[in-house]
């Protein structure tokens, strides 16, 4: 159905404990999300180690908008729309490269500085006395509304006006801090190509699943449960080391109690994380030499504090998840109401032993790849939900677990690890940022 572009129409789609199925299946709602939600929020673009030198660029999208992350000549990163102001041609086609001192459109050779300013047009006298200076085209390649590089992670807000970066993320940035502080040299570098996994489901299903702690022991019994069975049946002595793959996959079969006790923390504006007290990443074997490097870099007390924090999944509304303890990031890129591209990136802790990035690479291919058994388990559930939501007698998706009628999502809180509070937090943020630029009711 067609929706009025009003606050009232959007607010009617979310109750304190439910979300209307049109949030997942309606192309009309999807179109409004691209226009409003992904313009008003701070959305992940890329990591600055993808563009280390001036002129380096990387192309991606923010919502449905084609953008370029580029290192300008002043050393700062910029985010420009990937559109020639002349006829609309994407100025950059390949995913990454170096453009030198300027971009040059391949169609008519208009050129632009790496901050987007129009540099030159061939046969420019053809525009003399045409009023060209006042045209949209004369403004060059347009920049997004605002950009922030937070410890290497670059975010953009498309809307020219809106909530500031620090207010938007607040205390949730502590998960990025923890991830970066784990590098003895205090910075990360992207390691290799991202996994690109196509999901025939709505992007929000992926986001919700990151803090859904009641699904692993059910949906992943086929993979993690089978792994545990094989390992238990294998002939071995008590001191046979558990293979790294088992350390990674076995915790997915942890009992409900484990997930209840790990805790969930939420922050305002839709951000939150699982694994407050412990997580599936807590019991990985120590990597020789790493502790000593961390003590040398930070001192023992801070090193202990950084490495003692083992947050599981931190969700950054609207469409990002990071795993600080293993330096992994998943970007849920919306393509349509029923299509999402999941890109998963891994990062090297600069100055740390190679074995850490080896473990992260293994985690990534075991859990997040289109060829991964755990990925197959999850995608099957999302796609079944996407199809099942066509059933019309029930319009609502339920996220009521451990709901308290006095719940205040505007305050940071730590609760039982099986609460669906973080999902409710995301839907509250959905309403807030979907409607931030909408009138109350139709004029």
């Amino acid at each position: 159905m067609g929706y009025a572009e009003t606050r009232a129409a959007m607010q009617a789609l979310v109750t304190p404990t439910e979300a209307h199925r049109d949030l997942y299946i309606s192309p009309d709602i999807y179109r409004l999300e691209m226009k409003h939600l992904f313009a008003n929020t701070w959305v992940f673009v890329g990591h600055d180690s993808q563009v280390p030198k001036p002129g380096d660029y990387y192309t991606t999208q923010v919502g449905d908008q084609p953008v370029i992350l580029v290192r300008h000549s002043d050393g700062e990163v910029r985010v420009l729309y990937n559109r020639c102001p002349h006829k609309g041609t994407k100025v950059v086609i390949d995913r990454a490269g170096n453009t030198g001192k300027f971009f040059r459109c391949p169609y008519h050779a208009w050129s632009f500085k790496t901050d987007g300013c129009l540099l030159a047009i061939p046969l420019k006298k053809g525009y003399e006395n045409t009023g060209f200076e006042g045209s949209e085209a004369a403004k060059g390649m347009r920049s997004v509304g605002d950009v922030r590089n937070y410890r290497g992670f670059v975010f953009a807000r498309l809307a020219p006006e809106g909530i500031g970066f620090d207010e938007y993320f607040g205390g949730s940035l502590s998960s990025f801090d923890n991830m970066v502080d784990r590098a003895p040299e205090g910075r990360l570098e992207v390691a290799g190509a991202p996994l690109r996994y196509l999901h025939k489901c709505n992007w929000k299903m992926l986001l919700e699943n990151q803090t859904d702690t009641c699904h692993p022991m059910v949906a992943h019994e086929s993979s993690a449960g089978t792994a545990v069975k094989i390992w238990e049946a294998m002939p071995k002595s008590p001191d046979t080391p558990k293979p790294m793959a088992m350390e990674i996959i076995a915790p997915f079969m942890s009992p409900y109690e484990f997930f209840e006790n790990m805790g969930i923390r939420t922050w305002p504006n839709g951000h939150g994380h699982t694994g407050v007290h412990h997580s599936i990443h807590s019991d990985y074997s120590a990597v020789p030499g790493y502790w000593e490097q961390m003590v040398a870099a930070h001192g023992a007390e801070k090193a202990q504090a950084v490495l003692g924090e083992n947050r599981h999944n931190t969700c950054y509304f609207p469409n990002l998840m990071i795993k600080g303890p293993i330096q992994l990031l998943r970007n849920f890129i919306p393509l349509a109401a029923d299509r999402t591209l999941v890109e998963t990136w891994i990062y090297r802790l600069v100055g740390a032993p190679d074995m850490l990035v080896a473990r992260t690479a293994m985690y990534n291919r075991l859990i997040n790849a289109p060829t991964s058994m755990v990925g197959h388990d999850d995608l099957e559930m999302y796609e079944r939900a996407q199809e099942g939501l066509a059933a019309s007698p029930n319009d609502w998706v339920n996220v009521q677990r451990l709901y308290d009628p006095g719940e205040d999502l505007g305050a940071e809180a730590v609760e039982n690890g099986t609460t669906e509070r973080q999902m409710r937090n995301q839907f509250a943020a959905w309403v807030k940022f979907m409607t931030a630029s909408m009138p109350e009711a139709a004029a």
């Binding site: 690109r196 196509l198 094989i230 793959a245 291919r365 058994m373």
Partner: protein, 156 residues
């Protein structure tokens, strides 16, 4: 072992996969053999960058047992696959050591109403153990390895 044995072996392996005889397929491997499917074109490092697959015998066995599991919901109904092989190149022929082959093939996988095609190049390292050819290593390069894929549930 003759060159013809090598080629027959590669065709028999593909047939096992197409017929879903995954447990027999596991018996084709040496205990140390790894199955590698790179993520990046021309990738040289399977350890410190992400791959689509880099699996030892423990993981391959897990994969096979999962395919047969009662609660493997993504295999209800089961996937099927189909290989079409070009004549393999035998790049190195060494009955006492490692024989290396390169086999271009088309791989089709299907489940429910979905079907997809991958154009791949399989590189095998083959050795003779206990009088039989075994896979000591297999690398599978997908021609569009950097594209976005949905589920690839079976093994090319």
């Amino acid at each position: 072992m003759t060159r013809e044995d090598v080629i027959d072996f590669l065709y028999a392996e593909a047939r096992m996969l197409d017929e879903g005889r995954f447990s027999d397929w596991l018996d084709l491997w040496t205990p140390e053999g790894h199955y590698w499917m790179p993520l990046d074109w021309g990738q040289t490092d399977p350890i410190h960058q992400t791959s689509l697959l880099y699996e030892d015998q423990f993981m391959l066995r897990l994969r096979v047992e999962r395919l047969n599991g009662a609660r493997t919901f993504s295999q209800k109904p089961k996937s099927r696959c189909h290989h079409v092989l070009s004549r393999p190149f035998i790049d190195a022929y060494d009955p006492g050591g490692v024989t290396r082959t390169v086999t271009p093939m088309h791989y089709v996988e299907t489940r429910l109403d979905e079907q997809f095609l991958l154009a791949i190049t399989a590189r095998h390292d083959l050795v003779v153990q206990d009088g039989a050819l075994k896979i000591a290593g297999k690398r599978v390069d997908i021609v569009n390895c950097d594209a976005a894929f949905g589920n690839i549930q079976l093994l090319p």
